[in-house]
Each structure stands twice: as structure tokens, then as C-alpha cells.
């Protein structure tokens, strides 16, 4: 291996916003010292802009999004739920919480309005492509039933609180920040003594001029609520849907699997009914996601298991739909060790890395103070570990739930108007979730550009533009960095991976992709 490895024992110096440089959104550093996260970027450093008059909306279906001061004015409100309990009724819940079905829309009037105007039969017919004549597919009937049952039901818990309030929504908040946060969104409270956002730590998501709609779902295997989440996101006018999580494994069940598991126990008719009940809603969910993706892109994380196929729904990505499966690329341009790979990967985006030491590779953090004791060299020399791959320490800087209930634990009360403990407002983030959020930001930039040219693009169109413009080499953030390690090959389970298996079309290129959006 090259001698450059020796350099890795020193902490790498990376620009705090290297992920924005990597996607061609921020001017790459000029080879001097990397900039600290607090340092404001000049407007001329921003390489991609679309006039703010063209609106964009990203729906994030995840754990909920907290109101971070850098998201002020960017979160779509909802009409009925309240944020948490024991607060004044005027406290606004941002987005919708679908942990429990009846709290979807707690106000009867609003509920009826949605069913009539947004999720009407005509709307469903258009989005789910009901046949012009003849019977609907069984999954389409199932979706209509789910919508009718949940949105048509009378509600008597007006003002019901949502669990996804300011507490414990860090994952969704970090994703939302990567899309749309900006320190310039901050509105200082009158007594904070801060005169302008310029006094605060700098932050910038990919497209701070777009809005975010948070749709919270639980991890309970409930296909009905996940179907509602996608339909709600689409009906509220989302231009891009970000799904930085996985679907329950039932989505991949085939009816036969159910049959095998239960064949000995149930009679023929029981089996048929049970099969329908168990499998049909999942099929309806899959078909709903595919149908929605035909109209707007659905950006999904490939998953963090280092497996040979992305998780669902990323594994449904194909050129004829608008699902975009995003893999993670680390700072050095190598696959993040956890990122799933294989034919299903659409595109890659920057993220962090994780240490591994197995038969395939030794990828260890040499800046760790305990590293000197690690005998990995013995195993590499004996070829017990196939190759040595440099570990990239650089993570993705993201925003955190303010106060004590986020990723970074502090004693601050998280008062949005005061930055008494700045570390409470930021966190190091990563995974294919972060990569997917970055791509969603690029996709909404493209949608806003498309609107400036006449109208938004469909899911498959955005997917194709992203793939056509993705970078296969010469990653901008590495342009002026000397002494980069020799990446060598990336092995998993004894097999060297090709570029396409790791990154699909390549590293997402915001500048080129937005440029490529034509009328």
C-alpha cells in the first residue's frame, strides 16, 4: 500500500461543509486551511442558486422534525394537532403525526375538506392511475378503503397532541436541516442581544429556499398509516418526498411465504382470507409508493447494513419509476463501509464512515488513541484481511433538536431565541439517511428550477437528470487536497465491488443537475 497511509495517523483536515463542496454547491477550498463551521460563506461561494420566488416543498416521512431556529419559517404547519401536551393551544405542531390514525386531522371540518379536495376519489384516480373502465385493482380498492376509514372517521379528540413534538425528533430534524436549514432563517428574540443572524454559527442546507413538511410515522408494521403518509405528502403539494428509513420487512413478503408459514394450520378458505388480509395492504403500500414516484421523486436511503441489496423501498428503484436509492460515499470518495450496494443503487452522496475489521477489509480509525494497540497489520500481512481501506473521519454537520432532548445532550433549555449553548443546536450526522437528505435537497433545487422554466418534473425525469449528470471522478472537494490515500479496492464478502455497485451513476452533482433542467 502507498505511504500516504502514514498521513492518516494525523487527524484529517476537512472543511466543515465539505459535503456541500463535494456536490458542487459550495466553492471548494483553495488548498489552504479548512474553514471552521462558524465561518460564514460569501454569497459568491454558493455555486447553485434558484430564485426564491419559485417555491419548493420536501416532505420528510420520518421521526418528526423539531422547530430549530435555523428552520424558522420553513416548516409547514398543520391545522389540527398541538405540539406536545400541557402547552398552550396556540403552540403549533409542524407537520402531521401518523403514529396514531385518528389524530391525522383532528378537526372534523378540516378532515372532511381534505377528503373532498385533496384526497378525493378523482385525486386518487389520477395519482394511483385507476383504470378508465372496468374494475379497480384489489390494492387500489384497499387504498380507497384506508383513506375513507381514516379520513372519513368522525373525530372527538380535537386538539389532540402529537408525540413528535420538540422532544426526541433528532433524526428527522437533522435530515430537514440538511435540506432546508440556514443560519439566515434565524429570527432573534428581542431580549437575546443578538442583532443579526450573522452573529451566529453559520449553517446551510442544500436548498434553504425550500420548505419542509414533516410526516411522522412509527416503526410499527402498519401499512395503512404508511400509505396515508405518502398520500398526505403528495396531496399537500410535495415536490420531493424524502424517506430516510426502511419499511417493515412485510413489504417484501410474497403471498407464498405466508402460505408456507401457515399451510398446516389454516383451512383453505381461512388461508385465502388471511393471505389477503396480511399481504394485500403491503402490496397496496408498495404500489402506492411506486405510483406516487411516477409524479414526484421519492428519495430513499439505501440502508446501513453493507448488504448486497438496498433496503425497501430503495430496492424498488428502477429507471421506469421515480424512486431514487441513495448510497453513502465517504470523504475520500470511497463507499462508506456500512452503505448497502448492488444493482439497485441509483446515485451516491457524501456521508460519514464507520470502522470495520473483517475478512474483507481493515478500515480503522488511526487517530483513535487506542489504535496503536491494534494488531491489524498482522492480519493484513497474512492476507487474512483482504485489503486495507482508509477510514474517513469526516462526518456530516447537521442541526439537532435544540435543548436536552436531541442527539447532543446538554443542560440548556434549548430556547430557540437564545444561543446560550451552541453545541445543543448541532450534531455530527451520517449514514445513508444523511446522503438521501442531501440528494432530496438537490432534487428540490431541480424542481424549483423546473418551475422557473414552466413546471415541475416527474419522478423518473428527476431520476434520469440526476443520473445523467452524476460525477464519476474528479470530486470537487478533493481538487486541492494533496496526499490523498490510495483507495484501492472495496471488498465485501470476498467480492470486489464495481463503481456502479457502490455508487450507481456516481456522486450527485448539484451544479450540473440544476443546469440540466430545461423547459
Amino acid at each position: 500500500m502507498s505511504d500516504a497511509r502514514g498521513d492518516l495517523k494525523k487527524p484529517i483536515r476537512f472543511d466543515a461543509y465539505w459535503h456541500l463542496q463535494a456536490i458542487g454547491l459550495l466553492k471548494p477550498s483553495d488548498g489552504g486551511l479548512p474553514k471552521p463551521p462558524t465561518q460564514k460563506r460569501a454569497d459568491s461561494d454558493i455555486l447553485v442558486t434558484v430564485a426564491a420566488t419559485y417555491k419548493g416543498l420536501v416532505a420528510i416521512i420520518d421521526t418528526g422534525v423539531s422547530l430549530h431556529p435555523y428552520l424558522t419559517g420553513r416548516l409547514e404547519p398543520n391545522s389540527g394537532q398541538t405540539a406536545g401536551v400541557g402547552k398552550s393551544p396556540s403552540d403549533q405542531q409542524y407537520g402531521y403525526d401518523l403514529t396514531a390514525a385518528p389524530s391525522l386531522l383532528v378537526d372534523d371540518g378540516e378532515r372532511a375538506k381534505i377528503r373532498e379536495t385533496e384526497l378525493s376519489d378523482e385525486w386518487l384516480k389520477e395519482w394511483l392511475v385507476f383504470p378508465e373502465s372496468g374494475d379497480k385493482e384489489p390494492w387500489q380498492e384497499a387504498v380507497i378503503e384506508i383513506v375513507t376509514e381514516n379520513i372519513g372517521r368522525a373525530a372527538f379528540n380535537a386538539g389532540a397532541p402529537a408525540a413528535s413534538n420538540q422532544k426526541f425528533s433528532a433524526h428527522g430534524t437533522s435530515c430537514a436541516g440538511l435540506v432546508a436549514a440556514s443560519s439566515s432563517h434565524f429570527v432573534p428574540s428581542e431580549d437575546s442581544g443578538k442583532s443579526s443572524p450573522d452573529d451566529l454559527p453559520y449553517y446551510r442546507g442544500v436548498d434553504p429556499d425550500s420548505d419542509v413538511l414533516s410526516v411522522t410515522t412509527s416503526f410499527s408494521p402498519r401499512p395503512d398509516l404508511l400509505i396515508l403518509a405518502f398520500l398526505l405528502a403528495a396531496s399537500k403539494g410535495a415536490d420531493v418526498i424524502l424517506f430516510p428509513r426502511g419499511l417493515p420487512r412485510e413489504i417484501l413478503f410474497e403471498p407464498d411465504q405466508f402460505y408456507i408459514e401457515n399451510a398446516g394450520r389454516l383451512s383453505g378458505e381461512e388461508l385465502r382470507l388471511a393471505r389477503e388480509q396480511k399481504v394485500l395492504p403491503w402490496k397496496a403500500l408498495k404500489q402506492t409508493i411506486l405510483a406516487v414516484s411516477q409524479k414526484i421523486p421519492v428519495v430513499c436511503a439505501a440502508g446501513n447494513e453493507s448488504e448486497s441489496s438496498p433496503i425497501a423501498p430503495a430496492c424498488f428503484a428502477a429507471p421506469d419509476n421515480g424512486i431514487i436509492a441513495v448510497a453513502a460515499m465517504n470523504y475520500y470518495g470511497s463507499r462508506s463501509s456500512y452503505s448497502n450496494y448492488g444493482e439497485g443503487i441509483t446515485i451516491a452522496a457524501p456521508s460519514d464512515d464507520a470502522e470495520i475489521f473483517n475478512r474483507d477489509q481493515a478500515r480503522l480509525d488511526k487517530t483513535d488513541r487506542f489504535f496503536v494497540d491494534h494488531p491489524y497489520q498482522f492480519y493484513v500481512n497474512k492476507k487474512l484481511a483482504t485489503s486495507e481501506v482508509p477510514f474517513a473521519k469526516a462526518g456530516i454537520r447537521a442541526i439537532d433538536v435544540p435543548g436536552p432532548f436531541g442527539f447532543s445532550d446538554t443542560n440548556s433549555n434549548g430556547d430557540a431565541g437564545l444561543f446560550t449553548e451552541p453545541e445543543s443546536f448541532f450534531t455530527e450526522f451520517g449514514g445513508t439517511s444523511a446522503a438521501a437528505a442531501i440528494v432530496a435537497g438537490v432534487a428540490v433545487l431541480m424542481q424549483r428550477k423546473a418551475k422557473s422554466k414552466g413546471g415541475r418534473k416527474t419522478g423518473p425525469e428527476i431520476r434520469k437528470l440526476l443520473c445523467d449528470t452524476a460525477r464519476k471522478r474528479a470530486f470537487p472537494h478533493l481538487k486541492n487536497i494533496a496526499g490523498l490515500p490510495d483507495l484501492g479496492e472495496d471488498w465485501v464478502d470476498g467480492i470486489p465491488l464495481s463503481f456502479e455497485q457502490k455508487f450507481g451513476a456516481g456522486l450527485v452533482a448539484a451544479d450540473e443537475a440544476v443546469k440540466a433542467v430545461l423547459p
Binding site: 416503526f219 410499527s220 408494521p221 430516510p244 464507520a354 432532548f405 445532550d409 449514514g431
Partner: protein
């Protein structure tokens, strides 16, 4: 129909979510986090009480916070108005015909040879042994998860307190009172049937856990375990299927109040994981 659809060990790997990677990522942070946690520890720390079987009085008090009161003009009672979590919109139990049908399904389960296999789990779960949850989380008999255990214990106690109120409100008889041919595997509890508290409690644990630590690979599996524990009460002949379903709905609707009451404990529990 089936209790084992969801609990299939072979497919476990598939259930991993994209969220789970932060656990590895934060390896180096761990040292600091733990330091922090010990520093902050004081007698006043949330939690630890209920780990010793004491009543989680702070959390129960929080449920009775004035902000949780229902507007008296909406529904009134003699004690100054209901709390919102006392009148959550779950469907009342079904009528007698549907109930008899449900009892028939329980007889089917009683005849099913699978019941024998489930007996051991049913007996273990009767006393709400937490190992069904702590084992997939990898913290069974592991030192250092006191706050998590305390939180689970708190959730069990609070949901029991709340669930019993709903049982009294609906007053549904146990299945063996409706269908005497049922032979419950366990002593029939001296309280009512609807909604199932086992279902309410287990789904609450799964929901609370995913609220504060969705990155854990077993997050989704906890929901299946909750469903299995709840359904085992049907196999035992103690609950109708609609009891189980109502327990789950109650858990979903009660979650915001539970998170509000347990927030400090959840925070302390989270610090054990990241």
C-alpha cells in the same frame, strides 16, 4: 389468525432500518457521553425509583398537569373535569354477536396444537417479565442500562394505572364468562377485559423506545414482540381479539401523554445508548 407471522428469526436481518447506524458512528462519543451522565447523576435524577418497584409518582403527577384537563364545557365530571388521556377516542367494545364470534375464534385457538408450544411464553409473560424486550435489545442481564429498565418499569406502571380506568369504563366481561367452554391457561385476572392491558403496555414500550432511540436495529422488532405478547393472551383464553386491538390503539393515542410524563426518564435512558 397467526401469532408467528411477525416473529421469524431468519428474516431478522431484513428488519434493520437505515437509522441503525448511528450506534456505531457514535462509538467515540460514548466515552464523553458516559462521563457526562455520571457527572449529572444525583439523587434527584429521574428514573431509578421505579426500578425498585416504587411508584413513579413524578410521572403520574405529570399526567395530572392542569394543561392536560379537558375543557369543562366539553365534558364535565365531579372532580373538576376529565383529563384528555382519560377520554381518548378508542372504539367501545363490540356487541354480543361479534363477541360470540370472537369467542369462537378463541375456541379455535384452544383446539390448535400450537397452544401447547406457546404455553411457556404465555406463563412467562403473565407477570410482564421484561426479558421479551430486553433480550432483542441486547441488554438482558447487562450492567449499565438501569435507566432503560427503570423507564420500561415506569411505562408498565403508568399504563396499568391508565388501562384499568378504561377497563372500568367499558366493563367488558372476560371471554370465559361469555363462552364457558374456554379453559384459560392462567388464572383469570380479577379485572375486566377491554382493552387488553398487556397489549396497551407492550405496545407502549415499543412506541416509547422508538421515540427516543429509533436507531436501534430491534426497534421494529419490538412492535412485533408487543403484538406477539398481546396475542398470546388470546391463546391463553384471557382476551378477545378486539381487546388486543383496542390496547394497541390506546397505546398509540396515549403516547404523547406518556412521552410528556416520561421525558426526563427517556432522556436518561437515551444517554445509556449513545
Amino acid at each position: 389468525m397467526t401469532g408467528n407471522l411477525g416473529v421469524n428469526a431468519g428474516a431478522f436481518a431484513r428488519s434493520a432500518t437505515v437509522l441503525n447506524k448511528n450506534k456505531n458512528k457514535n462509538k467515540n462519543k460514548n466515552k464523553n457521553k458516559n462521563k457526562n451522565k455520571n457527572k449529572n447523576k444525583s439523587f434527584n435524577d429521574a428514573g431509578s425509583q421505579s426500578a425498585f418497584g416504587l411508584s413513579p409518582y413524578r410521572e403520574i403527577l405529570r399526567l395530572h398537569y392542569e394543561g392536560n384537563r379537558v375543557d369543562k364545557n366539553f365534558v364535565a365530571n365531579e372532580s373538576g373535569g376529565y383529563f384528555k388521556w382519560q377520554i381518548l377516542p378508542i372504539n367501545p367494545p363490540p356487541g354480543p354477536k361479534k363477541t360470540m364470534e370472537e369467542a369462537e375464534r378463541l375456541l379455535d385457538k384452544q383446539r390448535d396444537p400450537l397452544r401447547k408450544e406457546k404455553r411457556e411464553a404465555i406463563e412467562r409473560q403473565d407477570t410482564m417479565d421484561l426479558s421479551d424486550f430486553t433480550r432483542p435489545l441486547g441488554i438482558e442481564d447487562v450492567v449499565g442500562y438501569d435507566e432503560t429498565m427503570a423507564l420500561f418499569s415506569t411505562v408498565l406502571q403508568i399504563t396499568e394505572y391508565v388501562g384499568l380506568q378504561y377497563k372500568d369504563m367499558f366493563g367488558r366481561q372476560r371471554p370465559n364468562m361469555v363462552q364457558p367452554m374456554l379453559r384459560p391457561l392462567l388464572p383469570v385476572p380479577p379485572h375486566l377485559s377491554y382493552p387488553s392491558n398487556h397489549s396497551f403496555q407492550c405496545h407502549s414500550i415499543a412506541l416509547v423506545f422508538e421515540r427516543y432511540f429509533p436507531q436501534h436495529p430491534a426497534t421494529e422488532e419490538l412492535h412485533r414482540i408487543a403484538a406477539e405478547v398481546a396475542e398470546n393472551r388470546e391463546w391463553a383464553g384471557l382476551h378477545f381479539a378486539s381487546d388486543t386491538e383496542a390496547g394497541q390503539r390506546l397505546a398509540e393515542l396515549f403516547l404523547p401523554y406518556l412521552v410528556d410524563a416520561c421525558a426526563e426518564q427517556m432522556r436518561a435512558a437515551l444517554a445509556e445508548w449513545i
